[in-house]
């Protein structure tokens, strides 16, 4: 079972006051810490778990600069066998379409039964790369995957649907699965893992090696403006003694249909 996992390094934005950059095309990232995208962390763990059980290899891929290699080293430390970084200069000029084209160009020449991506990335919340890679590779995909079983050369997946529904599918290989958080409990990185990672292959490929040009990767969607939501009217403050506050609160809940 050879598995390729597409990963992304993203800024840690929890409990951070985000600031829009001067061009209004994104956020200022110079003071932010960066981590492996949470969904991808589950994806790499799932790939390692499956190969520990069924044998095979795990290859982690990212598109990014040298700083982004830290997430590949993390994947290697967690148990991936090798990693590939696609060096494409400033990645902010690409949209999901361009990123997926680069990834699929590399993946198609690798031996693989499964390709994993996270459902989405913590930074842009697009959630499109997985499906686009599947499309470009011409393989089946499943999204929001919360469980995976390998069965006679096929894969049985459980996916989350709207409204708390689940869906179980039997999928022919090769396939791409977009992994949902909670599918497993990602392991901590160990010191031994870090030391082993240093000895594993981390290959860097640039666009010329992929035979790709900026023209071919030009975005199909361009961010026009990033903005903070306008401030709305202030919240309703309930005042008075606790009994009055409680009765007013109940009245609001009833009016809004939360309580009968």
């Amino acid at each position: 079972m050879d598995i390729v996992v597409c990963v992304k390094r993203v800024p840690l934005t929890e409990e951070v006051d985000l600031v829009i950059d001067g061009q209004k095309k994104g956020i200022k990232k110079d003071q932010l810490a960066f981590v492996l995208n949470d969904w991808d962390n589950y994806a790499i763990e799932e790939a390692v778990l499956l190969t520990e059980k069924h044998g095979g290899t795990v290859t982690a891929i990212t598109v990014g600069n040298e700083d982004d290699e830290e997430v590949l080293r993390r994947c290697l430390a967690m148990g991936a066998d090798r990693a590939i970084r696609i060096e494409a200069g400033d990645t902010s000029r690409f949209d999901s379409f361009g990123i997926s084209k680069m990834l699929s160009r590399v993946v198609k020449d690798l031996p693989f039964d499964l390709v994993f991506t996270g459902v989405l990335a913590d930074d842009d919340y697009c959630g499109m790369v997985g499906m686009m890679v599947a499309e470009q590779l011409g393989i089946t995909h499943a999204n929001m995957v919360t469980a995976i079983e390998i069965e006679d050369g096929k894969v049985r997946t459980t996916s989350e649907l709207e409204g708390g529904l689940g869906e179980v599918s039997l999928i022919e290989l090769p396939a791409l699965l977009a992994i949902q958080t909670g599918i497993n409990e990602p392991r901590y990185v160990s010191i031994l893992g870090i030391r082993k990672a240093a000895k594993k292959e981390l290959k860097v490929m640039d666009l010329s090696e992929l035979g790709m040009s900026d023209e071919e990767l030009s975005p199909m969607a361009i961010i026009d403006e990033v903005y903070l939501p306008p401030e709305t009217e202030g919240a309703q403050i309930l005042a008075g003694d606790p009994d009055k506050i409680a009765s007013d609160f109940l009245e609001i809940l009833t009016k809004k249909g939360v309580m009968e």
């Binding site: 409990e15 830290e70 080293r73 993390r74 430390a77 901590y188 031994l192 870090i194 990672a197």
Partner: protein, 380 residues
Amino acid sequence: MDFTLTKEQQDIKKAAREFALGEFPERAQEFDRNETFDLDIWRKACELGFVGVFIDEAYGGAGLGFFEHCLITEEFWAVDAGMANAVITATFGAELLGMFGTEEQKKRYLPPLVQGEAITGTAITEPDAGSDVTGAITTALRDGDEYVINGTKMFITNGDIANYLLVFCQTDPDNPDRHRRHAFFIVETDRPGFEATKMHGKLGIRANDTAEISLSNVRVPASNRVGEEGNGFRALMAFFNVTRLHICAMAVGIARAALEESIAHIKKRHQFGAPLASFQANQFKIAEMATKIRAARNLYYEAAWLADSGKMDHALVAMAKWFSGEIAVRCADEALQMHGGYGYIDEYKVQRIYRDAKIVEIYEGTKEIEKVIVARSLLG
């Protein structure tokens, strides 16, 4: 000069922080209030290789430096000091064995510390011998192929839970040179005559075990002596040179925690219609804390790097130890001050930081002793 950590060091730092954030916050208050700890967390840290990274690969360690041990220590302490210590001090004494132990001692006593099968500690302080370590009067007298140990040790980290301790004893009380009277001994804690009494009521690092030790006619084989008779003081000073580096990392870690808690609080809390962070009085505190932390870290980074390069500078270690300890206490104090009344309640982490920080100015050489070392290096 290149101040950049290697990729491996950056990864170790991140891994340590992730482990601490995953394991410590949920239980920190419980262990602090109850003076307890769950040793499964220590075992998990051992499995992941965070404990005793400086121990040579030949004895099961990662064979990394004291610098990497410091990186892990700083990250752990930045999350919770008590739990951090309960995990990382489990090897407190391995440094001594690594430097002065025989091959047989290292093979026997070091691997279990890394594998999560044994805890150690170093017993130096006595009721009447603290900073004046040569005043330690616990005796180890030769009797054939054994030594007979008698005495009392105070404030011994892991004393109540350790599998063995390295005990600082007088072997030659009559030697005219007080620096040639002592030696270290490995004392297994299941030997007859060994008794440990857990100490309660510590101000801080309450998840970390501390005990009073009584040694009453405890017999150990002569092969348990670490180094030569009379070499104990020299060994102790060499031991402190590296373990004091860890204290610096602890201090910087907790100072960082104080800064992180302060920034989060003053950005969130409003007074006089504005966030506390908008007031210059608080901005100055934050600026001073951040600067002190950076300075303390640079001091100990240099000292640890020199130590790992085989160029130990004991005066620099002493400077780093007192300075980092002092800024830890100052930062904790300012952090609590910015929290106001909330900081005085133990539901807020900053109260624990305030209590935990003080120890770094005391153990393994008070700041006054560190200044004596620095002054002697300059004045002779």
